[in-house]
């Protein structure tokens, strides 16, 4: 009967001893967060966007709390980027009161990330930050072809991204060629 005793024991192992994968959504958000960290690393903002040499990068996430938490977790794990911390906060566009507050949060950011659950707010966000040196990123299809700067796209279980170099240039930002060469280039019709 010993094989049965062994099997019974194994069947009840509560702490699974295998490297468990997080759920698909959590995984996706974490990888997107890692992309954002890389965009921070390889983008130059005009120096006056930082109050001091130690002022943090400010990332504002428009979307679900899960998305904001995932991005914050990855940013924390990344540590300092070019000597600066990364501050992650969430802006909600749900109510009129939220939108008023969001406007300030967004304008004070270096990078704004619109996550797919907030896709209805994309245009409103782009209106708020237009003309400012703020890097706009989203994981909504078609973002880089309709006013956004960097759009994350999923293809066969992997993420890639699209870029609109003209929009980046118009905002006064400089994104490293290392990044742009990995992107699929798009551009809004002018």
């Amino acid at each position: 009967m010993w094989p049965w005793a062994l099997l019974a024991l194994l069947a009840c192992l509560p702490a699974i001893a295998l490297p468990a994968s997080p759920s698909t959504d959590a995984r996706l958000l974490q990888v997107e967060g890692a992309f954002l960290v890389n965009f921070l690393r390889y983008t130059d903002w005009p120096p006056q966007r930082f109050a001091a040499s130690s002022a943090p990068y400010v990332v504002t996430v428009v979307g679900s709390q899960d998305a904001a938490d995932a991005v914050a977790a990855v940013a924390a794990a990344a540590g300092d980027i070019r000597g600066r911390h990364v501050l992650v906060r969430r802006a909600s566009m749900a109510t009129a009161a939220d939108r008023a507050a969001a406007s300030d949060l967004l304008r004070g950011s270096h990078l704004v990330f619109v996550e797919s659950s907030a896709r209805a707010d994309v245009d409103a966000v782009l209106d708020i930050v237009r003309g400012l040196p703020i890097l706009t990123v989203a994981d909504i299809p078609g973002f880089a072809a309709s006013g956004g700067m960097l759009g994350l796209v999923q293809s066969r279980s992997r993420l890639g991204f699209e870029a609109d170099p003209a929009a980046i240039h118009d905002a006064g930002l400089l994104v490293s060629a290392k990044v742009l060469k990995l992107a699929t280039l798009r551009g809004a019709a002018r």
Binding site: L10, A11, A17, P19, S23, T24, A34, A75, R158
Partner: protein, 661 residues
């Protein structure tokens, strides 16, 4: 064969048991994972997977098995009033109506007859309704309210490792709807020619999406069938069935279900020719009102459904009693099953579990069927483990698994299975599988004796009567070995354009050991038979317009039995089956559903080929009311399917009222 089962099982269990030492601790893993991710280069990030094996939605196209899913809609449009009849829709499935209350159901041959084994496992919500007494399913009791069925999943071919021994040729799994999907009141009343009547009542209520319950009752009355000479065969029957289901949650991620039902057949007439014990070759007709009743209770709790990791526990108790003129049996069964699943390593999904089944029967022997011992309890313990790996992103997958069974009748058995599938595009799949399932002999094959006649030992030898009367029959033996099958399957599925789907399955079944009957039929069951079946099933379905869908299938089967045995299985099943269905919606309120079935000759049973045509019309004059008329077997006034009973042309009209939802 035993060895590769062991090897697979051991390898998988080793994986599952790898210790807490090292980098495999779940939480620590998550942290190093994030840190690694945060410091990865863009190039590496672009190579990182964002979906998991079980996280991706599984599509019909990519299922690596010969699976047919009958949806609630398919069942409704078929006009079937019980589960056995609904199974006619499955490609390659032979459904032969034996008489008013029993059917032979099975695909890929070796479907036996009403007393011998059919090698198909049948489950309702995970509860076994396949009876181990004669290894078959009594379809008059394997039934429920059809409107409460969410879907019937039929796997032709050895059930993937998840199901137990005896899922040799396939599995029929009937899954009922969640209580939150059956809220409100439903009343169905139907009447047909030939004395068929049916009434269904159901009431359900929901507190919210997760907490709901329903109660239901079904009454069905069936008239008798006739033989070719026009005489009644005395098989009229009726059944009453009532049950309930309660769904609830303990935590947001842990849900549970409690369900049960009881049934009784107030009328279960049977007229059979029985040998008279103690008299030399005397037979007499006997008409009895059989007793058929039972009940069951099932509890299931599930954590992390649709999550990458979770567990599941199910337990049930089932009691049945069936007293016929040939024998009487009462059975009690208790079953517990525990299962866990886990996504691991980005590319793998592991499922494993343990099941304990106990059953006890008490048999009152009759003049035709004797059992020694007349009461017996036995257990079977099953453990299974199965791992699915994504070998090449989105395109190549492999599933390896095995089941270990320890059954009182045959001891320790392994049932390994390997499956590979390739989906080069989202619209096409090619799959292949090799499995080695096992069937445990039935209680009848172990301990039964089927008496064909009582004879005088002297008279039967041609001399003067000796006065000693003995039974002449077929006996079971406990020395039978389990049946073993090596099954090879190949399949292809293709979606073309917007609505066409083509599905092909080929199989080659090498039955290494089969339970056989001596060539002269008298004697003892033996394990000297072996055999081969092979064939193919082809299905095409098309959504021709918004409102018109058609489905058709064609299947072919070749059976060969070897060994010093009676080869009835070679000629007991039709070689060719075909069906064509048309489902048409006219306007928003009317449905026209037409079906045609072709069954080729069954030489061993003297059945001629026949084509059966059904036509159903449903009209919904207003919300909550559906009126339908279904005509079945319209082409022939009557025809035979398996035995001498003539299945008549029939018309059935039904009104369904739904309100309060």
């Amino acid at each position: 064969m035993k060895h590769w089962g062991w090897a697979i099982g051991a390898a998988l269990l080793l994986l599952a048991a790898m210790g807490k030492a090292g980098a495999f601790e779940a939480d620590a893993g998550a942290d190093t994972d994030l840190s690694r991710l945060a410091n990865m280069s863009l190039e590496d990030l672009m190579k990182t997977r964002v979906t998991t094996v079980s996280g991706r939605p599984s599509s019909r196209i990519s299922t690596p098995a010969a699976v047919t899913v009958l949806t609630a809609e398919d069942i409704r449009r078929s006009g079937a009033r019980n589960v056995a009849e609904a199974l006619r829709l499955v490609p390659g499935m032979f459904v032969g109506r034996v008489n008013s209350s029993s059917w032979v159901v099975g695909a890929r041959g070796l479907t036996g007859s009403s007393l011998t084994a059919t090698r198909y496992l049948v489950l309702i919500d995970g509860r076994l309704v396949y009876d181990p007494l004669v290894s078959t399913t009594f379809w008059d009791t394997a039934d429920t309210v059809l409107s409460d069925i969410d879907r019937i999943e039929v796997i032709r071919g050895p059930g993937a490792t998840l199901w137990g021994a005896n899922a040799m040729n396939g599995v029929i799994s009937i899954i009922t709807k969640r209580a939150s999907d059956t809220v409100g009141s439903l009343v169905e009343l139907g009447v047909g020619n030939d004395g068929e009547r049916q009434a269904v009542m159901r009431y359900g209520a929901a507190k919210d999406e997760n907490t709901a319950w329903r109660v239901w009752a079904k009454y069905a009355d069936h008239g008798d069938f006739e033989n070719a000479a026009g005489a009644s065969i005395g098989d009229e029957w009726s059944s009453v069935r009532a049950g309930f289901r309660y769904d609830g949650v303990f935590t947001p991620t842990t849900d549970f279900t409690l369900q049960g039902d009881v049934y009784n057949e107030p009328k279960a007439m049977e007229t059979v020719l029985l040998p008279v014990p103690g008299q030399d070759r005397q037979f007499q007709w006997q008409t009895t009102n059989d007793t058929v009743r039972g009940g069951n209770l099932l509890f299931r709790i599930r954590h992390g459904y649709n999550e990458p990791r979770g567990w599941f526990l199910r337990t049930y108790y089932d009691q049945t009693q069936r007293d016929t003129s040939r024998f009487g049996v009462s059975r009690r069964t208790a079953d517990v099953e525990y299962r866990r699943w886990l996504d691991w390593g980005d590319r793998n999904n592991l499922i494993w579990g343990l099941q304990y089944d106990w059953t006890h029967d008490d048999i009152a022997s009759g003049p035709v069927l004797l059992f020694d011992p007349s009461a017996r309890s036995w257990t079977s313990i099953n453990a299974f483990v199965q791992n699915t790996t994504e070998l090449v992103d989105d395109t190549l997958f492999a599933m390896v698994g095995t089941k270990f069974t320890d059954h009182s009748f045959v001891g320790f058995q392994t049932q390994p299975s390997v499956r590979v599938w390739w989906t080069p595009t989202p619209t096409q799949t090619l799959w292949a599988a090799v499995s080695r399932p096992v069937r445990v002999p039935s209680r009848f094959e172990e301990n039964g004796e089927l008496v064909f006649a009582y004879v005088d030992t002297g008279a039967i030898a041609g001399g003067p009567p000796s006065g000693v009367i003995v039974p002449l029959g077929l006996s079971g033996t406990e020395s039978l070995r389990p049946e073993k099958l090596l099954a090879y399957e190949l399949g292809h599925r293709l979606q073309v354009g917007n609505g066409w789907v083509f599905d092909t399955s080929l199989f080659y079944n090498d039955y290494r050991t089969l339970v056989g009957v001596p060539p002269g039929i008298f004697g003892t069951f033996n394990s000297d038979a072996s055999g081969v079946t092979y064939g193919l099933e082809f299905t095409a379905s098309a959504q021709l317009t918004d409102r018109w869908r058609m489905e058709g299938s064609w299947s072919r089967l070749v059976t060969r039995i070897d060994g010093p045995v009676l080869k009835f299985d070679e000629t007991n099943t039709p070689r060719t089956l075909a069906q064509l269905h048309s489902y048409l919606d006219i306007g928003a309120d009317v449905e026209v559903n037409a079906s045609a079935y072709y069954v080729s000759r069954i030489p061993g049973l003297g059945i001629d080929p026949y084509t059966r045509a059904d036509l159903g019309l449903t009209w919904r004059p207003r919300d909550g009311l559906a009126l339908s008329v279904t005509g079945q077997n319209l082409l022939h006034a009557q025809h035979r399917e398996v035995t001498g009973a003539e299945i008549p042309r029939s018309v059935f009209a039904q009104a369904a009222f739904a309100f309060g939802h």
